[in-house]
Amino acid sequence: MRYFKKVLAITVKDLLLEAHTKELTPAMLVFSLIVIVIFNFSFEPGMQNSDIITPGILWIAFVFAGMLGLARSFAEEHEQESIRGLMLAPVDHSAIYLGKTLSNLVFLFCVEIISVLAFGIFFNINIFPILPGLAVVLGLATPGFVAVGTLYAAMASNIRLREILLPVLLFPIIVPVLIAAVKITGSVLQGQPLSDVSGWLNLLAAYDGIFIIVGVLTFEYVIEE
């Protein structure tokens, strides 16, 4: 219980920092909306095969916006070496990982919710009947992406070219999440039941579990000097 209180303290600190600075989430949101708007001009709403294309557009927006946020997620920790302050605290270092993952998750969920609404407007799709299905896919795909992304962001945080290096390192490892998320989102947009894509849902759930455990077990070695 004390462990989770400390995880929560780190998350709340990140949310408080973001509330003060408003640096990360607005940039992520603008980026995501720009992607949606650009694709909206390229592919006219109602065109043939739009069901196949649109899930990909949505996930490109989420992943690139997420990358932007992840690349900056450890910046504050290095400005005054606060990461060392966290490492000195009497708590297992995995709590730092879980706290940072949770705050990254909150930021990306906020961006996703607004982006989905904008997506519905720009692509003339009635989002509300399919919201539960979208909630399931976002709720399963985003934690996996953020879990592995937070771990890689911590690895890249000391590197000068982290903004460039992070996507290069991260994309190969999130391919399973992306494929599954696009497949499920496509199915949801076509109004099919989630049971049709249960295999992909199981893959996402397994991916989430595996990478959260990997992050918890390896974070200590990632941040040690």
Binding site: R2, K5, K6, K13, Q80, E81, R84, L88, A89, E225
Partner: protein, 242 residues
């Protein structure tokens, strides 16, 4: 009373290598409750590595370390409760207020009556009027005072300082060392590293010289008996250079 008499730090044969580079080559150190150790050394002597190991931020390659009766290999989480660290970096968040910074660290240490303790600590450091000001707007001296508050908030057995005067102007430096002197007079155990021979000497109880990864000289300050420490320092560090 700690489990090993009144010994707070017992280091035996501490060594640390980074690849082929041997940063520490076997450090033996015994710090007792209420001591104020000042460890001098030139750049690259291994001062920050030593503090890093004592603070549990680095793992020693060889040797044993016990702090306040807890062996570093046994319960590292509990051991961290015994330590407060002040470095030339503040470990503070510039975009949080002074109050928010201390509250955050207080929550990480699981401190009871946190609000009262944070406000008390801010008042002790003369920062009560700036509690709701963002740390980014503080002068370097004010930031360093807040750093002391952060390091002392959980009541550590020992305060480790790694070149804390870096970046402070003469006034802030003087104020900072007054605060350290006050803490020591309240029986706070302190171990500090520095390369500046002009500061801290009058406050400390023990002196040591670290050069080439070894403690090449150590003495109680009273044993120096009027000898010129600067001469001793150059004598030992030059010898190591050769």
């Amino acid at each position: 009373m700690d489990k090993d008499g009144n010994v707070i730090i017992r280091a035996e044969g501490l060594a640390k290598s980074f690849g082929h580079t041997r940063a520490l080559k076997g450090i033996d150190l015994t710090v007792r409750s209420g001591d104020f150790w000042l460890i001098f050394g030139p750049n690259g002597a291994g001062k920050s590595t030593l503090i890093g190991i004592l603070a549990t931020l680095l793992k020693q390659t060889k040797g044993k370390l016990t702090i306040d009766g807890i062996h570093s290999g046994n319960d590292i989480v509990e051991l961290r409760r015994k330590i407060g660290v002040i470095s030339h970096q503040t470990f503070l968040y510039g975009d949080l207020t002074a109050y928010e910074n201390l509250s955050f660290y207080g929550r990480l240490y699981g401190i009871d009556n946190l609000k009262t303790k944070v406000l008390h600590m801010l008042a002790e450091m003369g920062l009560a009027d700036w509690a709701d000001e963002r740390v980014r707007n503080f002068s370097r001296g004010m930031q360093q005072r807040l750093t002391i508050a952060r390091a002392l908030l959980h009541g550590p057995s020992i305060l480790l300082l790694d070149e804390p005067g870096t970046g402070l102007d003469q006034h802030a430096m003087r104020h900072f060392y007054h605060l350290l002197g006050d803490l020591h007079s309240q029986k706070q155990t302190i171990l500090m590293t520095s390369h500046n021979l002009t500061i801290g000497l009058e406050k400390c109880t023990h002196l040591a010289i670290l050069a080439g990864g070894r403690i090449v000289f150590s003495a109680r300050k009273a044993e120096l008996d009027g000898k010129n420490f600067e001469e001793i320092y150059f004598q030992y560090t030059e010898k190591e250079r050769k």
